[in-house]
Amino acid sequence: MAMHALNPRCFGCAVCVIALLSAAVVRAERSRFSMTHSRSQYVHWVTLYDADEKTIDPTDPNAKPYSPVHTCGRCHDYEAIGRGHHFNAIHGQASAGRPGEPWIWTDTRTGTQIPLSYRDWSGTYRPEELGITAWDFVLQFGRHLPGGGPGEPRAAEGGDAGESKQEAVGDEDAANGEAGDKVAEEDRATGRWNLSGHLAVDCMICHTNHPTFSQEAWWEQIQKENFGWASTAALGLANIDGSVSELPDDFDPATVEEDSRDQLPKTRYAPLRINAQKKVFFDIVRKPHDDACYYCHSNRFVGENTGEEWTYDEDVHLRAGISCTDCHRNGLEHHTVRGYEGELHPSGESVATLSCRGCHMDGEKAGGRMGAPKPLHKGLPPIHFEKLSCTACHSGPRPGEEALPLQTALAHGLGLPSHHYGPEIPPGVVAPVFTRDDRHVLYPHRMVWPAFWGSMKGDAITPLNPETAYGALRRTFRVRRGSTFTETLKDVRLSSEDKKSILGEKRAKVSGSELTEEEKAKLTVLEETRALEAFQKKLVEALGQLKEVIEDEGAEPVYVAGGKAYRLNSDGAAETFENPAAAPYAWKLGHDVRPARWSIGVKGCYECHAVGTPLFEGKVTALGPALDREPVTYAMYELAGFNKTKVDAWNQSFQRRTAFKWMGFMSMGIVGLILFSYLLLGVSGLFGAFRRR
């Protein structure tokens, strides 16, 4: 059979076509996302796109809210950004990293404060374990969520709250026998996503340079279940009328009557923000301002032993002109560097020089980044660098007699205006607490004690869903709107008999303002006693109520709070017991860094190595919503796992350190003189020997 040779012309055409196609593919890949690769800012006059990827005419009265996914995502890889550190906790693939601040689910009606995290940090609970769906999570914490994560529940993701909740619900249903109600609730929540829209990653939360970006507006829309509208409102692009929260679960815009569609929120764009081409100017900065970070990462100390807020200084790095993002930086994938030692960056890049030690000292790479000075640490034995973290001496408040109560933006909603930022608002968080990690390095931490109603089987305690607990206990505690669990417990009225027993018959009839301070103090003590008695009584009642809710065979109801666990004993009274579930959760703090002259130990060894110093002997008292006459109190050395005898022996030995130095130098003076004189004798002897020869 004759073989026909390939026609050279055909071959050449084929090669050209392949080359053109390849170039087209390459060009298409290059051009998918716009880049300037310049350090200068790009001016963003952008066309708005909605969640359906349709162009928005801002002048249209029925315009939809803009979608960051399709507006920003036209030029920037939204998928990649959405896997960044601030958004990826719910994604099963994200590395947990070093334990950080949890989301603390606080319910003031039931005395609940549960540390939650999607990142599997030991001591926290995954929201879905408690039956908290992504929907619930967004409604609770959306004020400080940047969007993405639980705001965009994706069925395909392994960590998706919705799907895993279905599984969890299934298991829980089998245990609790409330299949119908729970699934219906989940369906309700899932269905409402179709009305509310997703809470997409809002790039402008961090990258806006415009002073009108409002977190308050963001939260307002989330509270109204207007998730899809939050970005538009926060940026001040439009006014939003209407609220998804007022719509019934079965509301379907496609099937309702036309006039009912008006019930959906309306977006009225501000004409002054739109140019003639119906584009909107997005005032954007590549590096977020510190204010953007501060919104979520602020804290304040509260209570009697703290000074006014204006007396506190900012982090010394910020004072020096370094911004948050100079150290906590990232590329387009938004894997923000956290800056702790040993951090493994998902990109594979070394970020060692962005930790304290890596920047200020010479480690695997030369330090001195951004002109960071190298501390000499004169006279500080190098063993301190093995035993202590940099933050132990340089960050957070100096250790005092007692760890101070603290409020954080994530836990207490700082950054939003409120009339209720008093020191008593839960959850109770304290700092600094010095404990050691698994490498026995001492770090300062913030600490919170979980409080929740749960069930215990064997030794394992599982929290109940907070709403389930509320439903079972609302009649027991009767916490009024505007009040809290603790305030309600403390709200006791002394009977006239009680007053007579303390003040006497005559003084008991006197009005409160006429009582002496001593009498008032006596009454206060009695009130506290009565409140404790009332709490014990209500606790017994509440635990009894929970028995009806918990249907797990062999499980008993418990309450965990303030480092203790409570249960009913065989006599039906409430008793406390120890359980790991009551243990506090602590996370390392990195800021605010104090100036060098304010570091611990700058005055000398005795700042730490003396009897009774706060670093070892400072007290840490558990804070919780339960009333407790004897709250759990630790000494720092206990939490750090130090041997008390060793600590005392070591600190006492420092009393003789100065004397030892004097004695040492005098002794060495004598030895030195003897060495020198015999050296001279030896040398003269040698010369003599040479002369004799």
Binding site: G363, H377, G379, I674
Partner: protein, 202 residues
């Protein structure tokens, strides 16, 4: 070596090191081996006919104090370094007490034994007033103990003052380690030589 260690902060975790840790065991074993070998050889040697120099109580006390302090210091530090890679905790505590004893004893040791340990090329009749205390080797070891002890103490005293930064302190620590090792080895040798002389083998 010092510069390399100075810039590698990870070495601080072992208080510099793997080089000291590696050398320590070898040197100690070598010193012990030399002593053992010499002892074996001495078994076959002739006994010395020289009269033994008698020690008074004070000399014994001082010598004992020096031996004990060096033993404590050596054991606490070397055991900790070999076992844990660093000296801390109770061992460091004991090391500190040993240091206090050593610092107190060393001047007395130097004053008490310096004359007897002096090298003399020519003995005059006036000086020939009794049996020699030590032959040349323990004399050498004595001066090494003194010199090493001086260095080991001064390095630690200097590190207690706010004079040097971390790099300098690490270098002082290196010097302290090796000077300490010298003292321990020299003390082992000196003690062995004294024992030889006491039993008349030298």
């Amino acid at each position: 070596m010092f510069t390399h260690i100075g810039v590698l902060f990870s070495d601080v975790a072992g208080h510099s090191g793997e080089s000291f840790r590696r050398n320590l065991a070898g040197l100690l074993i070598a010193a012990a081996a030399v002593i053992a070998l010499h002892w074996c050889l001495s078994l076959r040697g002739r006994r010395s006919a020289n009269a033994k120099a008698r020690w008074n109580r004070w000399e014994k006390l001082v010598y004992l104090g020096a031996m004990v302090s060096v033993a404590v210091l050596g054991f606490t530090s070397f055991f900790a370094v070999l076992r844990y890679g660093m000296l801390s905790g109770w061992l460091l505590f004991a090391h500190m007490f040993g240091a206090g004893l050593f610092v107190g004893v060393l001047p007395f040791l130097s004053v008490t034994w310096c004359e007897a340990s002096r090298f003399e090329g020519h003995r005059t009749a006036a000086r020939n007033d009794g049996p020699r205390r030590f032959f040349w080797f323990p004399k050498l070891m004595f001066w090494m103990i003194l010199l090493g002890g001086f260095i080991v103490t001064v390095t630690m005293l200097l590190s207690m003052l706010p004079l040097l930064g971390t790099d300098g302190l690490i270098q002082l620590l290196d010097i302290h380690r090796y000077a300490g090792l010298l003292v321990v080895v020299a003390m082992m040798m000196h003690g062995y030589c004294v024992a030889l002389q006491r039993v008349g083998w030298r």
